[in-house]
Every structure is written in structure tokens, then in C-alpha cells.
Amino acid sequence: MVRFIIRRLIGLIPIFLGVIVISFALMQAAPGGPENAILGQQRRMTPQQIDSWLSRWCLQREDDIFAIAVEFGGWSGILNCNNEGFDRFLSEQGGLNFLPAFLGGGSNGLLHGDLGSSINTARPVAEMIGERVPGTLILTITALVLWVSVAIAVGVYAAVRRYSVFDHSMTFFSYVFYSLPTFWLGLMLIFLFGPLLGWLPTGGVVNARDWPAFGSPQFWGAVANRPLDAIVDIGRHLVLPVLTLVAVNIAADSRFVRASMLETLNQDYVRTAKAKGLSQRAVVGKHAFRNALLPLVTNVALSLPFLFSGAVVTETIFSWPGMGRLFIEALGDRDYFLLMGIILVTSMIILLANLIADVVYAVVDPRIRYT
């Protein structure tokens, strides 16, 4: 198993590189460039100021392959943007720039842990991503755990009670919720539980009046001082966005579990188990359920990137400061470095999630052996 994991990890490297190279090239090939993004902030820059700014990031005015290669070199840390011509391969210390600093290399770019700065906010990309991760994880882990648990329970029960009132009801509601646009459902829930009933907050992670800005060092300091208050307040703010995510996503997974369970329940070994006189609970729980679970593993594993990339629409509707909202903002602002940072981390997680899925298969299904 260990050898398999190592082999897969090595195999992921070229895929990962391919993803970021293609993403970078596609982004740079789009109309307009970073200089237009910064000019889009309405800054009045002279041509010299624009050139100076572009040079700091190895950015080029041209859109040809060579220009994109230079830009990628700067972003990745292969090139030193402070130098000109072939000297760009050299760091300030005189060594090859792509090497680590302690070997005489440079300090800029991905290879040296620098994702650059956001064009729009001028803040370090890593810092911006870092402060959004907690918000997204709080929301998506809660939602994922809930919707997978409920989907399994509903799917299994509907399969066992096939064509019952419960099964028909679940089928009906599954399709209803699956058809609902997330933004519409979210807004309806907000207006129902907020202004109309006054039971729940309409957005945000915590009550803005009572807490420092979420994600700031001051916030975490306050949480350390009042952990219980924080849990209660975050919990109240979680209800509506989680309800939205669960309602929309539970439909697909519950139908999936139901179908898988039905197929398993018709297998010979299940029939044999029943013939042996095992209880319904034992047949379903011990024999059918574990096998029916296998396809769900793939589904859940593929949902793992969602933990990081966030729920774009839900985060927007509920003003939840997470990765999905950050991605949308970066896209709208053509914030190239920020977009690349998000794509980089997301693609890494997708690749790792696939690896995890493969490993979990082996755990769940004893018949699978990796050599």
C-alpha cells in the first residue's frame, strides 16, 4: 500500500504541473492582461509606471508564447524579475534562481513559497487564501458530514422500504430540492427565517456587533477568550447556509445510495443471508450496506475538493467569507495571481482527493489489493 501511495504521488507531479501550466497559459491568453487589471482600479499610471510595475512581476505587454513563458518563469520562481535578459535566470546571490535560497537561489515565485500579491487588494495571495480557509472548512465540513449522513440514512431506508410512502415522499422531495436553484432557495430561507420569523441571522459567520472581524487575529483571540459563545454564535449562523447546501445536495446522494442499495439487496448473497434467517437489521447493516457503500466512496471523495473550493453560490448569498466567494471576486477582478493561487491549491486537493478515494476503496472493500 505504501509503495502504491508513493508511486501515485510521484505520478501526480506531472499532472499537477500540467494543470498549472495550462491554467496559467489560458489565463494569460485571455483578452486584456494584468496591466489592464491594475488600470481597471482606475489608477492613473504613466507608461513608465506600468512598465515598472509589470517588470516587478516579469509580466509582459505581449501575448505571444515567449511572453507567457517569461511570465510563467517569474510566477513560478524560475526567473528573477529584478534582472534583465538571460540574467533573469540568476538570483541576487548569483546562483540559479530556481534553487532554494540557501543554495544561492532566489526568493520569488511558487518554488520559493511566494504566490505573489493580489492585483486588486495588493495583499499576499497566500495570506488571502489562508484567511478564507477556516470559513470554508467550517461551512463545508458541517454541510458535507450532514448531507452524506442524511443521504445514507434516507437512501438506505428508501431502498429497504421500496415504493412505500416514505420512498415516494423522498423521491418527490429529492427532485424538488434538486431542481431548486441554490441562490433562490438561500434567499427564501433568509427572508423566511430572518425578517419574517426573526429566528436566525441572515448572513455572516458571527454577529458583527459582538465580534472582531472574522478571520482577523483579533477574532481568534476573542474566540480563545469566549469559546462557548463563539461556538453558539457560529452555530446559529451556520444553520441557514448548511440547510441550503444539504437540501440541494442530499437529493443526488440519497438517490445514489438508494439505487446502489437496491442493487445490492437483489444480490444472491443477500438473499442467502435472509434465507439463513438473519434479522433484517443484520442483513441490511452487515451484508448489504457495506457493499452498497462502495460507489458512494467515489462520490464523497470527489466532493472533498468542495471542502476547500467552497460553495460559491451559498457563500455569496449568505455573505460567508470563504474560498468560493474569494474565487468569484478574483474572477470578476481578473486578479491573475490570486486566481492562480486558488487554482493551484484546488487542483492539488483534487489530485489528493482522488488518491484518497483509491486508498479508501481498499479499506472498504477487502477484495481490492494494491501492489
Binding site: P31, E127, S319
Partner: protein, 647 residues
Amino acid sequence: MHKRVFAPLAIVMLIMAACGQPTQSTGESEAPSDGASEPASASPGSSGEASPAASQSQEIDDLLFGSAYVAEEGTAGGTVVIADWQAAEQLNPYYSSGFKNTQVFASTMLGLYSVSNDGKWVPDFAQTVPTIADGGVVLDEEAETAECPALEHIDYSLYPEELTPGFTVNLDIKPDLTWSDGEPLDLNDLLYTMNWILDPEQTGLVAGTTGWDIIDSFEVADDGLSATVHFCRGYAGFYALLASPLLPEHYMSEIPVAEASETSYPVGPTTVEAPVSGPFQYDSVAPDQINLVRNESYNSCVGDGCTPHPAYLDSIVYRFYADKDAMIAGFLAGEIDVATDLLQGDFAAMEAAPEGFEATIDTAWEYEHFDFNQLGETPGKGHPALADPAVRAAVAQAIDKTALYEAVYPGTPLPDAEPCSPVAPGLYYRSEEGLTCIEYDPEAASAALEASGWVDEDGDGIREQDGETLSFLHCHTGAPFRQDAGDVLAQQFLAVGIELINTAEPTIFDGWNDVDPDQTCNLSRGTYDTTEFAWVQTLDIFGSFYYSYHSSQIPTEENDGNGSNYSRLNSPDMDEALNTLFGTTDPGEVYALAAELQQIHTELQPEVVLYYRSGVRGLNSSLSNFARNPGTSSDMWNVADWYLAEG
């Protein structure tokens, strides 16, 4: 822009307004300077009649200075939550624009002067606002040389060729002011700010350097409380320029200028350490929320003859929603004390405010307009018919503005002022004298089109001439109220034989280099026939007019697409008046020129004023001393005076 209204930033304002985002707040309808009649009553006549002596008349000073604003004494304590549906991106006022940023600066970074709720210049850190009448502003006898002495960095290509006399401004500042970290604050900080702006290492400022670069002398007294500033040319926007926020020399000088846009006042945790001058200072900063607490070092006040005091409120929270509907829901649920950045289209939703809260609607310094592309190339790139003034006038006659407003904003009160002048009500330089206001008259419109050779020969209801149909590509951002307006206009135009193709294009304001030359519906590239968007105006008429109507501001290949004269107006009369305005310092003369500019505008009809826009707010009724500000100062212009009344 910023609380202290930067001179050339009408451009920025229009972009934001064009996106359907209000960029400023609205004014008190009962405010003395609000309404169209006031400037008319002080009609200066033609520009040629305004002598310097006459221009210093009490009437002009009354229009510009002497606000009626007086704050009640408040009680200390409490937190106010202010909400916007767009998040602040930059907290250095020189690198950012837009209402979402402005309202935050207005609480933290102040300058010498501010614009009051009734549209007057009032002292902020200054003790007085200098005027020609009181000797605070002294005009030079005559223009001197073609170039300002000892200024190597000045880009004279930005300035009109005609030389105008320079002037001196005597500045003062309140004593005993300090930054939030206790360092002294005086006019040396303004001198530093000027030098910082003009530093060659600058990476681009939203307001550029116009105005600053013609200051050839800035002498600060030893005590830092007074200074003499000399401009080597005339400059109409000097009040706005000198009202720019002060930067703390002791903090900014530690940051390389080339890196200042990234490391000074970002929307991030490090900003908490940065000194500020306003009544509130940063306590915690994150992308979706900024918490401010009272700056105990603040010892100033805004307004004429006010008494310095610290802010009454303990803290302010800026909460940024990602969706306007969600923000409205937050207000209706009582979670927000001040809901901002809303237009008249939102009023109906806000009216269901819970007990203890209220929704208000007030005229803003902005107006929605219907533009003609006068490029005269081909349909879709400035329809040839629109180069003909008679056709433009006929099109204007075909618009029933009242019906349009009522269709777009059903149930929302119609603005009081008749839409004609390209200056919004409440601005001191608005004039109604001698304007060519075109009334709705579809019969006359049809006759005029007929006379211009546009007739419906094939009976399909659309006029033609020489094989060309009278069909206009009408572009807008896609904001619902503009989509609706386009539909209404299409119906009205059909009645006179004009086809309007109502087209939503969210990238309509993308820059010259952002789009292909032939991309449909781009204002910079001129790939449209007609369009609808809004201008947001400031107390600085130069900034409001020059960049929109001067022929040098038509985006072209030669100027790299710079400028926002999207209607491609190319009029020697307008250019001459704007060149004169550029170099005019005397507010009286500026006022007279403003009347002339409005007359020229309505004669040339580069755009049809459809309606004056209103700003909508949601307010906690307990919030006292809240004085709606129609200008770019934002409603937070007097935030130190706000307090929560009991009950």
C-alpha cells in the same frame, strides 16, 4: 472617491455608477442649497460678464461656504453597524476609489476641508476655508511664463495651452492635533503628502497628479499650523485638491513609495497598526468586515465654528455583504443600523423596515442619461444619423421621461427637478438659465425626422434613408432598471419610426485594451449607437465636466484609449469653455462658466438627461446627528457627531 473629493475623479464615479452602483449618498431635501431654484436665483449671466470683483460677491460665497449644519451634543457609547453590498478593497485613499472604500476612509483619514450635507465647503482639520473675499486666496496679477519655474516633472501636455494667472492659498490647521499613535499632526503632513504624490516612484494614483504638479511653492511655518501654497497656473479644482486626506509622514516615510500600494493600509491585519487621523481607528480588518473603535487622540470636528470632541460612538462596524438582496434582508431583520449603496429601485423593498428603523429616499448628485455616439461611422459604431443634430434632437423629443421613470420605478416618488440640466440638483453650480430643454413631442419628432430625410418607405414602421434603416444598437450594463428603461425607450421610439435594439453587455465599461476593437457594445471602443449610464458628480465642476466632454478625452488609438468622452462630442465651443474652466481659479468665474457649460451641453445634446437619481438608505431611527451627504464625502463625513439616542 475620497471624503475629500479628488478633483478629476468624475471618471471613476461614472464607472461605478454605470455598474448600477451608487457611489455616493444623497442630500437633505430641505437643505438650503438643494433644489434647482437656488443657483438660478444667483444667476451670474454670461461668463464674460463675471468680473473678479463681482465674482467675490456674497452670493457666490453663500453658495460655496457657510454650511447650516450644526451637530447636537451627543452621548457617548454604542456600536453602529454600517452595511454595503460591496467590500472595501483598499484603505489608502490615494490608491482606491468607489463608495465602498470611501465610506471607510471618511471615518479614518481626514483632510483640511470637507463637503457638508448641504453641499458647502466646511473646515475639517482646517480652522477656516480660505476664500478670495477673506484674503485666504490671492490671485496673481497676470500669467507668468509658459512653464512653472523649477518644476521639471510637470507634464504640460495635460494642461490647456492658454496660460492663466497663478494664485496663492494661505492654509491653517487646528492646533494640538495628533495621529492615532500620538504623533503630532500638522501641515507638514500635507507637504509630505504632496511630495509623496509627486514621487517618481509612484505606481499610479487614482486621482493622478493634476493640480499638485503646478504647486511651485509650499512653505510651512515653523509651528506647522500655517502654510502658504503657490500655484503657478490657475486651477479650478484647488479646493478639492487641498482637501485631500493627510498621510502620516512618520509612518509612510518608512514604506518605499513603489511598494506603498501593497503595504500601506491594505484590507488586512497590518492596517490595525497604521496611524489614522479620523475619529475612528482600525481595530480588526478582514475582507468582509472592518471594525473601528473610537480614536481617543482625535481632537477635531467638522463644520463652521464647531467644538472639537472625540467621537461619541464607541465603535463602528463596516459589514460587507456579497449580495444586495441579502443586505436588504439583513436590514429588514434589524441587523444593520445603516444600509448604504442603494438606489431608488431598492426603495420598495426597503420600505418594509421593522419598527425602530426607516428607509429614506433623497436626491443624489448623479443622473441617468441616454447618450448618442456621434462617431458617425456605421450602424453599431455610431449610426451616421446620430451625427446629425436634428436627428439627435428628434430622438430626444421622442422620449417621455415621466412615463419612463414611472415604468422603471413603479410606486417610487418622481424626483422633483425637471430633467434637463446636466448638473444634479443640490450642486451649487447647477443652473436652469438659458437651457435648451427638449420637451416630449412625438409628432414634432416625426416631422423632424421626416425633414431630415428619414422616411418609412417600405411601410414596416421603421424609417430608412439611402438603404440605411433608423435602427440603433442600444447598450447598457444589464442592470435590471436599465434593461427595463431600454424596453420602454424601444416602445417610445417605435412610435416615431425608430428601432432600438436593447442590448445588455456587462463588459460595456471594459477598458480600451481589455477588449477587441470590434467587440460589440464597448464605450471605449465606440461600438454602440446609443447607451444609458449615469454620471456621478462632485462639488468640483472641472472634474465633473472636463473628462466627459472635452475632445481630448475621446478614447482613441493615439491616447491609448484614455478619456471618458464616450459620446465622442467634438465641439470647439465646449472645448474652449472647458479650457477656460481648467485654468480658472476664482469660484465666481467658475460659477459663471458652469452656467455657460450647461447651456452648451443642452444645445449640443451629447446626452439626454433621463432623470436625476436618488439614494436610498436604511437607518436605525435612534441614530442621531446622521446627516445625509449627497456628495462623495459619503454619509460618514460627520461620523464623529453620530450618537445613539436612548429608546
